[in-house]
């Protein structure tokens, strides 16, 4: 109240001593394409093979061999483009990006420069109660490089070419992100879309989703400031930390009257520093030119339409459908669609019962428990079938919610079939009304004082219900009990 300015400032501004600063972030995500073989060769792409066991002559840069484009990779790139609401370019060109490095035996990387396969698109992210539409600048295909290993032996460096030639999609966002949180949400959303599409595993630890972050700061409303690029971030947490460290570093420099140098930097998670890469490594003139071994890639509309028609349901539409079809809240729907496997689990549970009931059980009981025990949905001790039949028992009125929790515990630790557990332990609810009526009558008979009072104090009704529940060991159906007690006491 005393700081009037606080309420009108967007909370993602960095407030400096001399004024406010807006952070501008653009991301380049390198996603390894899900395909059995490499972009231009028939060598396998599987992770974890013996070094240099998945290398063809092309990947090793041998002379006299020609690249052949992998149709599967093209399909995957187009499907990704469609998933990002992007324009697919029917004409694109592979060019050579020339540079010299030990893990690049060809002496150039085949990439797309002027004519990428996918043009502008967008994704929607949800951050702190707001939806932001983030523009995609382009998506292009390129080859991955091999891997240098310097720490195997002191006197040698080794090169593993298994990765050399695997297809990468470079997905470039527009500079439309304004905080570390937004950038993190963007990467998570992108990864989610790629996983739904099955075009990339998105496994950051294995390096098949790597991110370069461009950060600059400016006074709100002014032209873009000089940016720095932070290379090769391989976890969502580091993306956040790197952006904070870098944007605050730039604010400090500018407030001290210094200039920002456009440069490539590395983030060191141990020190919290971003530090410049040696400028030698980045002062490149790549001398791009169209690869003479590869014709321009021309696609026909029917091919693209065919792929579009067979696209799986994506997170945003699943989110809308979950809300509509199952009557879920936005929160529940968002939690469920955030991982494809979670959404699938929910959908195979929801078959026999109401959506909200299934969502509550899946989110609170299953996910909550998995989280606490550090488990993944794929290793959940309670399968979706088991949970589905458990919830069916609730819906049918065979067991109460309370009993269901007990059975869930048993399923978690011992496994089994919910229906069998119910009959084996005699846990089924008493729904036989004559049996309940008899118990109700007994309770009423035994408590004449309470019966007199109930007219003045209708709240006593629940006391009667409680007594009946107690007498049945919690097995009576509370709804039937309620109904019968009302009837017997002549209450409405």
């Amino acid at each position: 109240m005393h700081c009037r300015a606080a309420t009108i400032r967007p909370d993602n501004f960095i407030v400096g001593a001399t004024g406010d600063w807006e952070v501008v972030i653009g991301l380049e995500v390198h996603a390894q394409v899900n395909s059995c073989t490499k972009l231009f060769s028939g060598a396998a792409t599987a992770f974890g093979g013996q070094p240099n066991n998945q290398v063809s002559l092309i990947d090793a840069g041998m002379p006299g061999v020609l690249p052949i484009i992998n149709e599967k990779c093209i399909e995957q790139a187009i499907r990704t483009g469609l998933g990002l609401n992007a324009r697919i370019n029917t004409y694109s060109v592979f060019e050579r990006k020339n540079y010299f490095y030990p893990d690049l035996p060809q002496g150039y990387q085949i990439s797309q420069n002027r004519y990428p396969i996918v043009g502008e698109g967008f994704v929607e992210i949800y951050v702190e109660g707001e939806v932001h539409k983030i523009g995609i600048e382009r998506l292009h295909l390129e080859q991955d490089a091999g891997k240098s290993m310097h720490d195997t032996r002191n006197e040698y460096s080794y090169v593993d070419l298994n990765r050399s030639g695997i297809a990468l999609m470079e997905i470039v966002s527009k500079p439309e992100l304004h905080s570390a949180k937004q950038a993190q949400a963007y990467v998570l959303k992108l990864r989610n879309i790629l996983r739904y599409l099955g075009t990339c595993n998105g496994d950051m630890e294995r390096g098949n989703l790597r991110t370069d972050v461009n950060v600059s700061v400016r006074r709100p409303g002014e032209a873009l400031g000089t940016r720095c690029e932070i290379k090769n971030l391989n976890s969502v947490r580091f993306i956040g930390k790197a952006i904070e460290a870098e944007s605050h570093r730039q604010v400090e420099l500018l407030e001290d009257g210094c200039k920002i140098l456009q440069e490539t930097r590395l983030f060191d998670p141990n020190s919290g520093y971003t530090r410049p890469m040696r400028s030698k490594e980045e002062a490149h003139d790549y001398r791009y030119f169209p690869d003479p071994d590869l014709l321009p890639l021309e696609l026909n509309e029917a091919f693209i339409e065919g792929l579009a028609a067979n696209l799986p349901e994506l997170p945003d539409s699943k989110f809308k459908r979950f809300k509509k079809e199952y009557g879920l809240t936005s929160y529940d729907a968002r939690v469920l669609v955030a991982e494809k496997r979670n959404a699938d689990y929910f959908e195979s549970v929801v078959g026999g019962c109401e959506g909200k009931l299934a969502a509550n059980w899946v989110i609170n009981d299953v996910f909550g428990r998995l989280n606490r025990e550090g488990l993944d949905i794929s290793s959940s001790p309670v399968s979706s079938d088991q949970l589905c039949s458990l919830l069916k028992l609730i819906t049918e009125g065979t067991i109460s919610g309370k009993i269901a929790k007990e059975i869930f515990e048993t399923l978690w630790s011992e496994g089994g079939n919910p229906a069998d557990i119910v009959s084996a332990r005699g846990l089924a609810q008493v729904t036989d009304t004559t049996q309940i009526e008899a118990i109700v009558d007994e309770v009423i008979k035994a408590n004449p004082m309470q019966v007199q009072k109930v007219d003045d104090n209708p709240k006593l009704l629940s006391w009667f219900v409680g007594q009946v529940m107690k007498a049945t060991g919690g097995k009576a159906n509370p709804r039937s009990v309620n109904k019968i007690v009302r009837k017997r006491l002549a209450l409405n």
Partner: protein
């Protein structure tokens, strides 16, 4: 009321001078700075454990008053509206001074220490009382009873924050307070400053009032300052030294007095450095940073002179050991003699060692100290300062600490000689943490220590926000 917390830049929140400049430009108010600070504490304190007491409500009230005063044009000076932390060894009326123990946890102060009064009347906002080694007796920063603060330079491994002003240094390094008060009897401000990557100044003994400061060894005790830059250290030093805030504002504006000194550089100064003998048993990386620092000072025009002091650092350390444990036993012996008291066993050992020192040994040590002070002063004629690494290693994993050793080898020199000394960051070793450069200047010559530190800092730059305190 506070639906949105401002993201105040890390560099601003950690700096007295930047905050003051933001206030005067009207870009933010004490309300938002205190709120951002409290927010940071809420986020980081569960991991860092720097505080024994957080004064959130009192700080909010003070911020409110400061905001109104500044908005109406009644700014007191450069310390107005600055969040500071206080080592829990120093009295504030109505608050407990536990001195890092649980035994003293019922000692409610009846008066505020004059040092604190000066900071408060300068407009400072007390944000909390910070963790300390029990009765300030220990330089690793560990406290087995009330907990050891987490050094913010390592996310995974719990490393020594340095002590005894451990919480103060951690709070300042992570931006949970812009600056903090510590105390220094053998290195208790400079060691945590070095290991947490902040500036630490130990003032000359007798320069500032010690009333309301729980004693460890009254002969050697001095207050000290922890801040994120030499300029900030200077501002806080002058406030604590009793200078009027308006005068400080004027001096800063005109760049005169101490602020003129900070700009003078080191060209023409003669700086004594470690001789070959004293370079033994220092970690390689620390030595590397130390030599690089000397190179920088040399490049800036200082004359670097390796110096063999007539009294070795070991002799000084041993004498200080005698004086410290003898006096500490006098002050705290009863608490540590009582076997049923819940206390840190490492500190108990140090204190009880004082029981076996005879008064003759004690008086001998005091006498030798006087004689050695004269000797060293004579040989330092023509030398402006003595430069050492603050500590011989980077922060150690807590589990590696040998409590029978002390990391105070070079810091005790200043306490022994009744000099003043400053530690400034001189490097950062990835995955391990910062190292500090110690500038020891003669008694009452704080401006020389600050001047050399400022010249070095300008050349070296500031450390970034430590990884734990990032997003």
């Amino acid at each position: 009321m506070w639906d949105k917390i401002l993201t105040i830049s890390n560099a601003t929140l950690k700096s007295i001078s930047r905050i003051a400049s933001g206030y005067s430009k009207g870009n933010f108010t004490p309300n938002s700075v205190i709120e951002a600070t409290l927010q940071r504490i809420k986020r980081l304190e569960p991991k860092l454990q720097a505080f024994d007491l957080i004064l959130a409500e009192a700080a909010r009230e003070a911020a409110d008053l400061a905001t109104r005063a500044i908005e109406r044009g009644h700014a007191i000076g450069p310390f107005h509206g600055i969040p500071f932390a206080l080592k829990d060894l120093i009295d504030v009326k109505g608050l407990i001074t536990a001195g890092g123990t649980v035994v003293y946890a019922d000692r409610i102060a009846t008066a505020t220490a004059p040092l604190v009064s000066r900071l408060l009347s300068g407009g400072g906002i007390l944000i909390g009382k910070t963790k300390t080694v029990e009765v300030a007796y220990g330089a690793w920063g560990t406290n087995e009873v009330r907990g050891t603060p987490w050094n913010p330079w390592d996310e995974q491994i719990h490393r020594t924050p340095g002590g005894s002003s451990s919480g103060s240094a951690v709070a300042v390094a992570s931006g949970m307070a812009s600056c903090a008060v510590g105390t220094d009897t053998g290195g208790s401000v400079r060691i945590p400053a070095a290991w947490c990557g902040v500036s630490g100044l130990k003032v000359t003994e007798g320069r500032m009032p010690l009333e309301g400061v729980q004693p460890l060894a009254h002969t050697l005790d001095t207050p000290g300052i922890l801040a994120n830059s030499v300029l900030d250290t200077s501002i806080m030093f002058e406030i604590m030294d009793g200078r009027h805030p308006i005068e400080i504002t004027e001096s800063i504006k005109k760049q005169v007095g101490l602020y003129g000194e900070l700009k003078r550089g080191v060209a023409g100064l003669t700086l004594g450095t470690l001789c070959e003998l004293e370079r033994e048993n220092i970690h390689d990386t620390v030595l590397e940073h130390y030599d690089a620092a000397l190179c920088r000072l040399d490049r800036l025009g200082a004359q670097i002179v390796p110096l063999e002091l007539e009294v070795s650092s070991k002799q000084m350390r041993d004498d200080i050991g005698i004086i410290m444990s003898y006096e500490a036993y006098y002050h705290h012996g009863p608490m540590y003699e009582e076997a049923s008291n819940k206390i840190d066993e490492h500190v108990r050992k140090r204190i009880l060692a004082g029981r076996d020192i005879t008064s003759a040994q004690f008086i001998e040590a005091l006498k030798r100290r006087k004689q050695n002070q004269v000797k060293v002063l004579k040989m330092l004629a023509g030398i402006d300062a003595y430069i050492t690494p603050t500590v011989t290693s980077t922060p150690l994993p807590i589990s590696y600490v040998d409590q029978c050793q002390t990391p105070a080898r070079f810091t005790r020199i200043a306490n022994y000689l009744a000099f003043c000394a400053m530690s400034v960051p001189m490097g950062l070793i990835e995955g391990k943490g910062p190292t500090g450069l110690q500038v020891i200047a003669k008694g009452h010559n704080e401006s020389m220590a600050l001047r050399i530190a400022a010249a070095f800092e300008k050349e070296f730059g500031h450390l970034p926000t430590p990884p734990v305190a990032l997003f």
